[in-house]
């Protein structure tokens, strides 16, 4: 089985270790992650905020996948949400015609037939295989950050519970790691708030990390570039605000990969200098 790995701007730009670990874990499950050449931004929160043309760029990505005859696996919450949103819009024949007349200018056509799934969804669909691959049960206590746009709106997500998603927990528990309950577990990380208010974003990140740490977590497990951007790239600012809010960020496939016996290096853990303990 193969899929097209949609990196999105954030992971492409900042988190090679997420991609490395995702590729390694998918390979163990017999899924080959193919390079998504020529991909563009999913449109994110930016384009829809100014123009209906957001649908053209999102659909362009879907058209590329269709041409290669593969489904898309995405690593970010927002990208997953936007590509799914585009798929839903394309169900309307008139909209699809309008999109196709624009895509024709770049030699493409879209039917809306390529699937879009977030990595979590793919992993949970292969939960038996994941379980079989676990060879080194982890002695680690972790907290989870569930990526909002993978699960909400439920109407677009079509799987799991929009308020208390279970998929990530189920996967993390397969690794042998202890998944702590912490009061803010089902809160949004608040990363996107950084766009208009550094203060709100940082305080939101600080509260979450502190809440997880107080519950005994040794790492925050994420599965979205935006969440990692706040917890990892802004850790210094978070700690300047709340010194105790120190928690390393681990990507879900890194957690899984470690339990599969894949070395920390092969999972890119040295890239961000993640130390667990």
């Amino acid at each position: 089985m193969e899929c097209l790995l949609y990196l999105g701007c954030m992971v492409y730009n900042r988190f090679p270790d997420y991609e490395i670990a995702a590729r390694a874990v998918l390979a163990r499950l017999g899924i080959e992650a193919r390079d998504f050449h020529d991909f563009a931004c999913c449109s994110s929160t930016f384009l829809p905020s100014v123009s209906d043309e957001w649908l053209y760029l999102a659909s362009y990505n879907l058209a590329l996948a269709e041409r290669r005859g593969m489904d898309i696996v995405s690593l970010c919450g927002t990208c997953t949400g936007m590509l799914r949103r585009a798929l839903r819009e394309l169900r309307d024949g008139e909209v699809r015609d309008r999109v196709n007349s624009r895509l024709a200018e770049v030699g493409l056509e879209v039917a809306g037939s390529a699937g879009v799934a977030h990595l979590i969804e793919v992993l949970i669909q292969h939960r038996e295989k994941v379980e079989r691959e676990v060879s080194t049960p982890l002695k680690l206590r972790v907290a989870l950050q569930h990526p909002c746009n993978v699960f909400r709106p439920a109407e677009l997500a079509g799987f799991d519970d929009p308020w208390r998603p279970r998929a990530m927990r189920e996967l993390a528990e397969l690794t042998g790691a202890e998944v702590v309950d912490y009061p803010l577990e089902y809160e949004c990380c608040g990363s996107t708030l950084l766009l208009t208010s550094e203060e709100m974003g940082i305080s939101s990140g600080a509260d979450k990390l502190l809440s997880a740490r107080e519950a005994g977590a040794q790492a925050m497990v994420v599965s979205c570039g935006n969440c990692a951007y706040l917890f990892d790239r802004h850790l210094q600012e978070i700690r300047a605000r709340r010194a105790e809010a120190e928690l390393p960020t681990l990507f879900l496939p890194q957690l899984l990969g470690l339990s599969f016996g894949i070395s920390a290096r092969e999972l890119g853990l040295d890239i961000r200098g993640v130390e667990l303990g």
């Binding site: 701007c9 200018e105 709106p153």
Partner: protein, 118 residues
């Protein structure tokens, strides 16, 4: 599509409201529609099924674009990506990742003819 009854269910689950963003009886009455985490709990919580996502975007299109949005939009129009990507393939190579061919800027220009980055 339902209509807002100003019941406040959306405000109660809004992380931006909790962090102090001035918000009226509904998140749609917010003065600054850009201060939003995009978590869409409001959409889930709304008992009337109001299309909060669409209405939030409408409010944004009427409003003044924050500099962070302009920056990202300029990047998208220049390169197809919301953040700077120069040198990324060299870094990927360093970590043993395959280079990813990027979208051609003229493709982006054809797809996004009317987008103004503010």
């Amino acid at each position: 599509m339902g209509e807002c009854t100003r019941c406040g269910a959306c405000v109660r689950v809004c992380i931006a409201a909790r962090r102090g963003t001035p918000t009226g009886a509904s998140v749609l009455e917010r003065e600054d529609p850009f201060t939003c985490a995009g978590c869409w709990k409001c959409v889930e919580a709304c008992p009337e099924g109001v299309d909060i996502y669409a209405l939030m975007l409408e409010a944004r299109r009427r409003g003044r674009l924050p500099e962070s949005f302009s920056f990202a939009l300029r990047n998208i129009l220049d390169t197809g990506y919301s953040m700077p990507v120069r040198g990324v393939n060299a870094i990927r190579e360093m970590y043993g990742l395959p280079p990813i061919r990027r979208v051609k800027p003229e493709v982006v220009r054809k797809l996004l003819r009317d987008v103004k980055p503010g």
